[in-house]
């Protein structure tokens, strides 16, 4: 029984990896000329995964998660533009570190309250980060964006080219690594602790654990993931703009997460891909009505698929399997 369970877990991991690879492959084949867009989706997927860690796994409602992503983006960008650290792996490391640090700061603030005040705290922090980046314009380029980032070839072999193949490949690899690590995290003792905190923090406290400490730690991890996404963004775009730590991006990430379904890595990935494809399609078809359509989509999700698309479909399948 036990052995069977653990092999099943490992095999679902393998399925996950296979699905990501297959999706990346299909994307590559179907849109060979759109790799920059696909890379952008991957960077955002990392942001949404990171958001899922705190919102989906720990139950923290935040509209300020782009602060972590932007911190990673700017750290990677500043490293390249001001310190001549142009190796993409080192830039990614810079992004991860800065994201984790930003995660710690945001976490310590946001976790001070719950409910609506928590939401407002998260908004206030992302605005503070935004203002800070705007103020430090000699470092960040302010609203003109931070340009002058030119990553050196990956591993000294693969240059970042016009077609964006290197950036795409790097993004897919990064996503896979993060995905596997997060799967491990999700079933680690710490992952279990966080699930418990989400359901009943009071109960967890009487078992001897401190929710605040655990959640702050999760925020740091989440920051590292978002920072990796931000670094990917800086590497592939070679310009970092203030939008990368905006309230708008935070809200969009939340929308993507809930669209896919919270509390599952697959939900986060599904949501990001669907939202981006939807956005790409609708904004090309009729930019004028794009906002109305997104609004209608959100309302429809809340009414008809409250667990998100992935969540609702997997529930449905589980029910069917149950009755069959």
């Amino acid at each position: 029984m036990r052995a069977g369970q653990s092999t099943r877990r490992v095999s679902t991991d393998l399925v996950g990896i296979a699905v990501i690879l297959a999706a990346a492959g299909i994307g590559f084949l179907l849109f060979p000329d759109n790799l920059a867009l696909l890379t952008r989706i991957i960077a955002l997927a990392l942001l949404v995964l990171s958001l899922d860690l705190v919102t989906g796994y720990c139950g923290i409602a935040t509209l300020g998660h782009a602060a972590l992503y932007g911190a990673g983006s700017y750290a990677a960008g500043v490293a390249a533009a001001h310190f001549a650290i142009s190796d993409p792996l080192l830039m990614t490391l810079a992004g991860i570190t800065a994201g984790a640090a930003a995660g710690l700061v945001c976490g310590l603030v946001i976790l001070r309250a719950t409910g609506l005040p928590q939401l407002v705290l998260s908004i206030a922090t992302v605005y503070l980060f935004h203002e800070l980046a705007n103020k430090l314009s000699s470092w960040t380029g302010g609203s003109d964006g931070l340009s002058g980032i030119s990553p050196s070839p990956l591993l000294g072999l693969f240059a970042f080219d016009l077609w964006g193949r290197t950036a795409f490949g790097f993004g897919v690899a990064l996503l896979l690594v993060v995905f596997v690590l997060l799967r491990i995290l999700a079933r680690s003792p710490f992952g279990m602790l966080c699930r418990g905190i989400k359901e009943d923090p009071l109960r967890i406290r009487s078992m001897g654990a401190s929710p605040y400490r655990a959640l702050a730690k999760m925020y740091v991890i989440s920051g590292a993931v978002a920072g990796a996404g931000g670094a990917l963004n800086a590497i592939s775009t070679q310009v970092v703009g203030l939008d990368s730590l905006s309230f708008t991006l935070s809200a969009e990430a939340l929308v993507m997460l809930v669209l896919g379904g919270t509390g599952s890595l697959y939900g986060a990935l599904t949501g990001t891909v669907l939202f981006m494809l939807f956005a790409d399609f609708v904004s090309a078809a009729s930019p004028f009505h794009w906002l109305t359509m997104v609004g209608a989509l959100l309302v429809a999700i809340v009414l008809f698929a409250p667990k998100g698309l992935y969540g609702s479909i997997s529930d449905y399948l589980a029910r069917r399997r149950g009755t069959a």
Partner: protein, 390 residues
């Protein structure tokens, strides 16, 4: 699956075949979101040009492909620029309302062999990011520098500058300061306001307390403009004789109906007024108004787009529709023509547009609508911003 791949390949092949006699131009701008009006003006300018000059150049047919970047979002801009180049096979990239969006796409140009024609983004440095960038709009330095001269010649000696705290605001602050101090005036104080400022009364108080004889202001168009101008009147600054100087972003035509009488008499300097008196402009305005639908929505980005199309048409003529970015750009260096805004030319060295800057005053036209009436012309202004950055 196999069939799918085949279909994709077939589509790609078909596109390749179609390329022979169609020249595609990819236009990136804000076509949705809070800045959609500016994107609409891009489209109106482009449509007006094509309505007046046709879509055929020699054997080639021009086709425009629009891509939407609703807000300053370099990552999206780059992704779309890349898609336009690689997938759609565009020979020209154009548009770009925001500076970071243009900056993000600029590194692609050489490898893609594609020139970029900037129809709005107004930070001086963009043209230095790639030798394939040409700009047909303006820079903040270009439109602001004459303001300083106007202020000084008015007899105003002490000025307070008030700008929004973002890159264009900083540019405006520096440009005005440079011009005004060079003329011999004094900047008594420099205020930078957060972008999201709703209530300008405390700022007005601060201006009064500064002892300045005049104020220079630069704000993004839209709600802040309205709030600022109202606060200026309500707090009695105009009655107190504190003079008002600003570049024309503040009195763009699409904001004038909302500003109403409050704006009457405000003088701004800019590269284009819809009320410019010339036959080229009359024709342009007629075509652009038809293209945009609601005449009240027409504003300055349309003329940047219109002239941008002129430059691109000349490039296509010069290259015979073949993809040769360097040749195309070389062909328009030094090009001069009669634009709706007046005589203009492309500076051969900077690839930025040399144009007249006008001092205008908001007045009521005979039909009761509000216009920017031109009072004075500063001829053949280049971009002082590039020199200042050096």
């Amino acid at each position: 699956m196999k069939r799918l791949v085949l279909a994709v390949l077939a589509a790609a092949a078909f596109q390749g075949a179609a390329l022979a006699d169609t020249v595609k131009i990819g236009v990136i701008g804000p076509f949705s979101g809070p800045f959609a009006l500016q994107g609409k003006n891009f489209k109106a300018g482009i449509d007006a040009y094509m309505a007046m000059h046709g879509t055929a150049i020699g054997d080639d047919t021009v086709e425009i492909i629009y891509r939407d970047v609703p807000k300053a979002d370099p990552a999206q801009s780059k992704a779309l620029a890349q898609e336009l180049v690689v997938k759609e096979g565009v020979q020209y990239l154009a548009g770009f309302y925001f500076t970071p969006d243009a900056m993000a796409a600029a590194p692609l140009l050489e490898q893609a062999n594609v020139p970029m024609v900037i129809m709005n983004a107004a930070t001086s440095a963009i043209v230095t990011k790639s030798p394939l960038v040409v700009r047909t709009s303006f820079t903040i330095w270009q439109t602001v520098t004459p303001t300083a001269q106007v202020a000084f010649e008015d007899g105003t000696r002490k000025i307070i500058t008030v700008v929004s705290d973002y890159a264009p605001g900083h540019d405006a602050e520096k440009a005005f300061q440079a011009g005004f101090e060079k003329a011999g005036g004094t900047i008594v104080e420099q205020l930078r306001l957060p972008m999201a400022t709703n209530d300008f009364s405390p700022i007005m108080q601060r201006i009064k307390d500064s002892g300045a004889e005049g104020l220079f202001v630069f704000l993004p168009s839209g709600p802040p403009t309205l709030g600022f101008v109202k606060a200026y009147n309500e707090n009695g600054l105009n009655k107190a004789g504190i003079k008002f100087y600003a570049p024309g972003d503040l009195t763009q035509e699409s904001d004038l109906p909302a500003l109403g009488d409050a704006a009457l008499g405000l003088r701004t300097t800019f590269h284009y007024s819809i009320a410019h008196d010339s036959s080229e402009n009359t024709a342009f305005v007629a075509a652009a108004r038809k293209a945009i639908g609601n005449p009240a929505e027409l504003s300055f980005p349309s003329v940047g787009a219109f002239d941008g199309m002129h430059v691109i048409y000349k490039m296509i003529e010069a290259t015979g529709g073949e993809a040769d970015a360097q040749k195309a750009v070389d062909a328009v260096k030094g090009l001069s023509w009669a634009s709706p805004r007046g005589p203009v030319s492309i500076d051969a060295e900077s690839r930025h547009i040399t144009q007249n800057i006008y001092l205008r005053e908001v007045s009521k036209a005979e039909d009761g609508s509000y216009i920017n009436k031109e009072l004075r012309t500063f001829e053949k202004q280049g971009d002082p911003g590039l020199a200042a950055a050096k």
